[in-house]
Symmetry: C2
Subunit: 335 residues, 2 copies
DNA sequence: CTGAAAGCGCTTACAG
DNA sequence: CTGAAAGCGCTTACAG
């Protein structure tokens, strides 16, 4: 069906499209008679007029669309962020286009291209390894952009980030104080700086403590996380682990690891203590309540949208970074 | 910055915009010299030309945007669906705009309005109670639309749905065969037909079986699901439940309920058996593996996008419904 | 083989 | 108080 346009209204009302446009946009300055206004509103109502934002976009070069690229929208962490971003964006009149990169730089590049074609006013991205060039190109074109969750080395992008290194150090110190015989860091085999920061923070704290303690790093790929973690935990923990701490650097890893502890009947926190990054409702189903690092997701979303909106409105063109603090929520999985 | 347009290319190449447009869109019929073609492609490349889909949209009345409205994108179930929809949509050249309704008909209406203004080519919606009128209006305007997960009474919309009633009956029969003393259905206090179908299916099967068995319905609101379920389970299960089955009609409910069993140390499946609708990775952390009804999410997404695309392309204007079957995945939470 | 021109649905500076 | 007209970046039927 053909949708009603401003032209239809003008024709029916017997005025010009300009007048209709002025009235519908409630422009001051232009003084239109109350009578005409009323007539126009009535007609718009009855013929079910819906403004065509596309036409408006073309005119004023603002689509009111924001592109969001995450690794995978079905991941708890990202869908929570997406939800908060959606709310914040809506408040400023933006709607969200989403795409999942699957950690694939080609797909990431394709999504930026697609979004760019769709004329999004800006993008919020969780960059993948190998996407430096694509992002640099966007920045060079001064495309409004803000990173979230992640950041890349060797390229300076505006973004909101967690104090990964610092919170990793603090939380590792928290663990160290408890005098475990063995501490195991479970992370990703990755080049992504935000994850490496967690790992290095962990390692630095252990080293600094000067404690004579056994540590292991279990680093897994992105495929078969569960299988890999379970196999490696089996080796490192052995049959009868005692006085050991597990430090998981993400909720996905934690779920995989906890599942193993569950199956093998290893007691938390009696035998093994557990600390994890990020929340997930899954923790509710584990016998012990999990001590975790809480990321301020809502605040992150708020700052990200804010930062982006400022770039879009030209208030700011600098690669401003906002660092937010994680918070250790201590439960009973760490004795 | 000003983005390069087709006009810039034309000017530099010394040809008309029409020629550029033909070349860039690889239109046959128009026969342009290889030389001109090559020149145009080169210029497009060097000045970093990105086509403006907005302009194209205005011209051909196709935005290649699909609107997705779910109850809450941060919900596991919907973010999984969203992921599949994203993939399917991308294959057909569409990108996805998302919005969360929060079960609020006003917000739902606002989102449809917003998406409509953004000229989405069609919408995939999980309708909320009270959104009948808004949806009817869209249908009347023959706006391409398909429902997913949910459906409403008294309005005939194209959509893909689960065989809720049937799978509820079948799975209830599965439970009934096991001769429990008590079976408890945990569902929502709702008017949403897809959930009522599950409840009625359960009730019908129990009745039909003619078994002299105690049944309870625990129906909760949307706020404080956990607290409400836990309080009610406490009353119904008592201190020392035996030979009882719990039938959860969603994964959210199941997580809340399982969390309670966990805390109160009620053994699954020794004392209480559990069956739930939908998966969630959270189940991994529960001591017993949960028997659940698996919805074919990928297939649903596929059919939904297909159905929508057919409407958009005018192949089909009928309110076609596609019903897919749930599958009972039997694990050891049901003894 | 290529171009001039109209048009998609709006906005807005300008004129009256 | 209101309208004619140009323009946003494209596409496409038509003419040559």
């Amino acid at each position: 069906m053909k949708r009603a346009s401003i032209k239809d209204i003008a024709r029916i009302a017997g005025v010009s499209v300009a007048t209709v446009s002025y009235v519908l946009n409630k422009k001051e300055g232009q003084r239109i008679s109350e009578e005409t206004k009323k007539k126009i509103f009535e007609i718009a109502e009855t013929i079910n007029y819906v403004p065509n934002k596309i036409a408006k976009s073309l005119q004023n070069n603002k689509s009111k669309l924001l592109g969001l690229i995450v690794a995978d929208i079905s991941n708890d962490f990202y869908s929570s962020i997406a939800r908060h971003l959606e709310d914040k964006a809506l408040k400023l009149g933006y709607t969200l286009i989403i795409g999942s990169s699957d950690e694939n730089p080609e797909k990431f590049a394709k999504l930026t291209e697609l979004f760019s074609q769709q004329q999004v006013d800006g993008m919020i991205v969780a960059p993948v390894a190998g996407s430096e060039e694509v992002l640099q190109r966007l920045v060079d074109k001064s495309y409004p952009l803000v990173t979230i969750d992640r950041y890349l080395k060797g390229i300076n992008l505006p973004g909101v980030i967690l104090n990964n290194r610092e919170i990793a150090e603090n939380t590792t110190n928290f663990i160290l104080e408890k005098d475990f015989d063995q501490i195991i860091y479970i992370g990703y085999d990755t080049k992504l700086p935000h994850l490496l920061d967690r790992q290095y923070g962990f390692e630095a704290s252990v080293k600094e403590s000067g404690k004579d303690i056994v540590t292991h790093n279990i680093l897994v790929g992105l495929e078969n996380i569960s299988e890999e973690i379970q196999a490696k935990l089996k080796i490192v923990l052995g049959e009868n682990p005692k006085n050991t701490a597990l430090y998981f650097s993400s909720n996905k890893l934690a779920v995989a690891g906890l599942s193993y502890l569950q199956k093998t009947n290893i007691k938390v926190p009696e035998d093994v203590s557990v600390l994890a990054f990020d929340e997930t409702e899954a923790y509710q189903l584990f016998p012990a309540e999990i001590t975790y690092v809480k990321q301020p997701l809502e605040e992150m979303a708020h700052e990200a949208v804010q930062l982006l909106d400022m770039q879009i409105s030209q208030y700011s063109k600098t690669a401003k970074k906002i660092t937010l603090s994680g918070e250790l929520i201590i439960k009973n999985s760490t004795k």
